[in-house]
């Protein structure tokens, strides 16, 4: 027998604890990713002129309804 006794390790709830920790980390990371995504869209639409875009596309000749 060992002279000193080790503490008994955690025997139950291991998967639950792992899932809980991973859920928390995933939630925080997803918030970060969403923030980046929203920033890309905000930057695009801040100075977006839809009529200018439409004119460019019309001149390129891709529409069938307007030439």
């Amino acid at each position: 027998m060992a002279p000193e006794v080790l503490p008994k390790p955690r025997m139950r709830g291991l998967l639950a604890r792992r899932l809980r920790n991973h859920m928390a980390v995933a939630f925080v990371l997803s918030l970060g990713v969403a923030a980046l995504y929203k920033k890309a869209y905000a930057d695009f639409y801040r100075n977006y002129d839809v009529m200018k875009d439409f004119e460019e596309m019309r001149k390129a000749g891709i529409f069938q309804s307007v030439k």
């Binding site: 890309a40 869209y41 695009f44 460019e56 596309m57 390129a60 000749g61 891709i62």
Partner: protein
């Protein structure tokens, strides 16, 4: 004789017994004979078989089994080893030994992948019809130009990488 679960396990694993048969022919046993019709020896997934490894024991082995019924502290180390060898065909170290099977497996895998590649090459030359006209370089360039005109995925995708003033890809 053997439990049905054990049989299905053996058949599915494909030869725990057969591999055990090879090793037992190679090594010499103490003197007991194996039980007939049983080719299913103890494995990691079948640790406690019903039948011991050797069932036909000669006189001294039977005396040993009688001695086993008493206190085990009376047994010498050699007797304990002999009793283990009567009960099981392999020790844990022997059971867990490495093998070179992976080399055979990888070799066969690569060989057949190469063979399939040769077959597909032959098919490219003799079987496949000509490529459609839309896959020529000129047509692909026209398609890309049309996608840029339509400004597909302008936020993060294709059109966002194209510089419309300078008519080139963004650096």
């Amino acid at each position: 004789m053997l439990p049905r679960a054990a049989w299905s396990l053996v058949l599915r694993k494909g030869g725990g017994g057969r591999r055990g048969m090879h090793s037992s022919e190679g090594t010499t046993r103490g003197g007991g004979k194996m039980s007939p019709y049983t080719n299913c020896y103890a494995q990691r997934y079948y640790p406690m078989p019903e039948e011991p490894f050797c069932t036909e024991l000669n006189a001294e082995e039977q005396a040993l089994k009688e001695k086993e019924k008493g206190s085990w502290t009376q047994l010498t180390h050699a007797e304990k080893v002999a009793l283990y060898r009567l009960q099981f065909n392999e020790t844990f170290a022997e059971m867990n030994r490495r093998s070179n099977e992976w080399k055979t497996v990888m070799g066969c895998v690569f060989f057949f992948i190469g063979f399939a590649a040769l077959v597909i090459w032959w098919q490219r030359v003799y079987v496949f019809p000509p490529k459609p006209i839309t896959l020529t370089d000129e047509r692909k360039a026209q398609q890309l130009q049309r996608m840029l005109d339509m400004k597909v995925n302008p936020v993060q995708g294709l059109a966002s990488r194209w510089d419309y003033e300078k008519k080139q890809w963004k650096k």
